[in-house]
């Protein structure tokens, strides 16, 4: 282009895809030459060789994707890993394996032509879809097919390791494996001609925190490598040859960027996501029917913890009739509107409120005594009455059951058995229609952390109660004021335990919620996000703070923070790092009222 010849500043308007500001030099990726696919027939004795060649190409792709995946694991970008996993499964898909092999045998033509014809059929099918989100998935198949074809023949591949540092990559289109192969540290931004906000490249760019602008005529840049370029992922503007004033301005914007994110995204009715678009679910902890109306103002996505024992505190007994409980749960469900409700069954026991059960035996060590599920299993009549009342009230609404203080797998299995029995009984009596109750397990005793693989198989979801977990892990009585200084969740043991639980539950595809005190403390949010937690349940009034903390977090940075902290052994060092990371992510004094040592949530009444 002519106007590129002189070094004057000029601007192009594109569509913003991934936020952020980048300043760097242009690097144009030449589109892969559209090689014509060789087409010829083969003789019957060549058929098996052709198939062997095809299988070889698939195997080579698998190895290549495996390497790619390993590198991504080091970088920690889960989005990209997910995409690679999808591609690996596609390589094993009968439509790619068996179907193509059958076709080769049937039509007796070379692999490339058969393969391309098959992919062409899929392409047509995707093109017919009405939903653009699904249409976008075609790009995976095309990307993979390019990869397979490249292993069938020899072709020039782009070597992303050769891209100069802080390049702004210009390309007609980015295919997912390209975006995944690019190290975030080398590339400052992407600019493409096609590719929308739903594309994988967009997802990965956001996950890696790389600014991305599309709908730019990239051919303009083909002849001019190495120009100074500013990419504004907010507005979608591309500035070529910026003059000094523009450069200074953008440098300043860049440093202030994190600040502007928060200012832009304060409204609590927006979905909660990190700066780079990672969705996080914020739920409410509730203990009282009267809190429900106000709770809705904070717009939680659900009730992550309903402490059922609080309903009956003033009664000083748990022997409340099924009818009375039924009315209370009905009100709970009605007032929750269409939010799901996780009802934690009575969490009661020696230390919690001894006068609630009549035949209370003095326990020398009530915190280690007959609490939570242990109490309920020992008093099955109380447990069954509560379950009957909940199930009758629940009808078809989304009610989930949470079991407190599980310390071994048998307690979980036994509780599940009782829950099933109670439902059978109610169905038989014609009182309810059969349905599924997701059953969750509280993770508050260290023993279940270490058998979390088994627990995550057995339970439908997990909920980490950090308050008790800290107490049991550090061996510190949290009701003892002289010990309160030690009772902090920043202990490396606790953080590593959370990590373990998240990893194990992810393997089983089971959601994990953090519902303890740290879920309402913004200082911990980046660390928890970095450990892979994406669900927090806290007291409604803390929801805006937690949401804001999430929106201030860049997942990639959070991940790095978590990796750093997992290497640390000193709790003081961890607290210091958390506080520093937190103040870095915010302008000073933006969020008041939180300090590291502050106990953010004091449970009413029952708390010892």
């Amino acid at each position: 282009m002519k106007y590129m010849d002189d070094n004057k500043e000029f601007r192009l308007q594109g569509a913003p895809v991934s936020e952020g500001i980048a300043i760097g030099t242009s690097f144009y990726i030449t589109p892969q030459t559209d090689d014509t696919i060789p087409e010829f027939s083969i003789r019957s004795h060549q058929v098996e060789d052709e198939i062997e060649r095809y299988r070889g190409a698939l195997a080579a792709c698998k190895v290549e994707l495996g390497y790619l995946r390993q590198n991504l694991e080091k970088e920690g970008s889960q989005e990209a890993i997910d995409i690679i996993d999808t591609h690996i499964l596609m390589l094993e898909d009968p439509l790619i394996t068996q179907h193509v092999e059958d076709k080769i045998r049937k039509v007796r033509r070379n692999t490339e032509s058969v393969f391309s014809a098959v992919i062409g059929e899929y392409e047509k099918k995707f093109a017919k879809m009405k939903d653009s989100f699904f249409q976008q998935r075609l790009i995976d198949i095309l990307d993979l097919s390019k990869r397979i074809l490249s292993h069938l023949g020899e072709k020039n591949k782009i070597n992303f390791a050769e891209i100069p540092l802080s390049s702004i990559v210009f390309a007609k289109e980015l295919i997912p494996s390209h975006t995944a192969a690019i190290q975030a540290s080398r590339v400052s931004a992407f600019v493409t001609q096609s590719g929308g906000g739903n594309s994988h490249a967009a997802l990965i760019a956001r996950a890696k925190g790389i600014p991305y602008v599309s709908s730019i005529d990239v051919d303009l840049f083909q002849s001019v490598q190495g120009r100074c370029i500013i990419v504004d992922g907010q507005t979608g503007e591309i500035i070529v040859n910026p003059d000094k004033a523009t450069l200074d301005k953008y440098k300043e914007i860049k440093t202030r960027l994190k600040t502007s994110y928060q200012l832009l995204q304060q409204d609590s009715h927006h979905i909660t996501e990190t700066v780079d678009g990672y969705l996080v679910h914020i739920l409410a902890n509730v203990g009282n029917l009267n809190d429900l109306d106000e709770m809705h103002n904070y717009r939680p996505e659900g009730i992550g913890l309903f402490r059922s024992e609080y309903l009956f505190l003033e009664k000083h007994t748990l022997f409340i009739s099924e009818e009375e409980q039924y009315l209370a749960y009905s009100e709970l469900i009605e007032k929750s509107k269409d939010l799901f409700v996780v009802i934690r069954v009575f969490d009661i026991g020696g230390d919690k409120n001894p006068n609630l059960f009549f035949e209370h035996e003095k326990e020398a060590n009530p915190v280690l005594g007959c609490r939570g599920i242990r109490f309920l299993l020992r008093h099955p009549n109380i447990f069954r009455t509560q379950l009957r009342a909940i199930m009758r009230a629940a009808k078809k609404s989304d009610v989930r059951l949470l079991l407190p203080l599980i310390s071994d797998i048998h307690e979980l299995q036994e509780a599940k058995r009782i829950i099933n029995e109670v439902q059978d009984e109610l169905v038989e009596q014609g009182l309810v229609e059969r349905r599924y109750y997701p059953i969750g397990c509280m993770i508050e005793v260290p023993s279940v952390v270490f058998i979390c693989d088994a627990i995550a198989k057995e339970a439908d979801f997990l909920s980490i109660g950090t308050n008790d977990l800290v107490q049991y892990t550090l061996g510190i009585d949290r009701s003892n004021p002289s010990m309160s200084d030690f009772c902090y969740p920043a202990h490396p043991s606790v953080i590593r335990m959370i990590k373990m639980v998240v990893m194990e539950s992810r393997k089983q595809n089971k959601p994990v919620t953090i519902c303890g005190e740290i879920a309402s403390n913004p200082i911990f949010i980046p660390l928890l996000l970095g450990l892979g937690v994406n669900q927090f349940s806290c007291s409604p009034r803390y929801i805006p703070f937690v949401k804001r903390a999430v929106r201030n977090t860049v997942l990639l940075e959070a991940y790095e923070l978590a990796q750093r902290i997992l290497q640390m052994s000193s709790p003081t060092e961890i607290s210091k790092t958390l506080v520093e990371a937190y103040s870095d992510s915010l302008p000073a004094n933006k969020i008041k009222g939180f300090s590291f040592s502050t106990q953010t949530e004091t449970e009413p009444a029952l708390q010892p």
Partner: protein
Amino acid sequence: MKVSRKVKVTNHLGLHARPATAIVKMLQETKSSVSFTYHSETINAKSIMSILMLAAAKNSVIKIDIEGDDAESVMNKLALAFEQGFGEIHG
């Protein structure tokens, strides 16, 4: 053994790449044959591309048919995964 059940897609983006990946991974362990029927189209549920080509959005109702020794347990696992939105949503 043959079992059949209808399930609803609950996660808000529908049966996109991630849930499809989860399904196929889950079914890798079983020898039973598993098929999904949606809009009168029946596909092999062990084929990730077939699942994607269903383009089943949120709230689509999918009929699952399983035939094999562990049909019942596979069905329970699958139905649960659908119900839980494949761990993507908790709501």
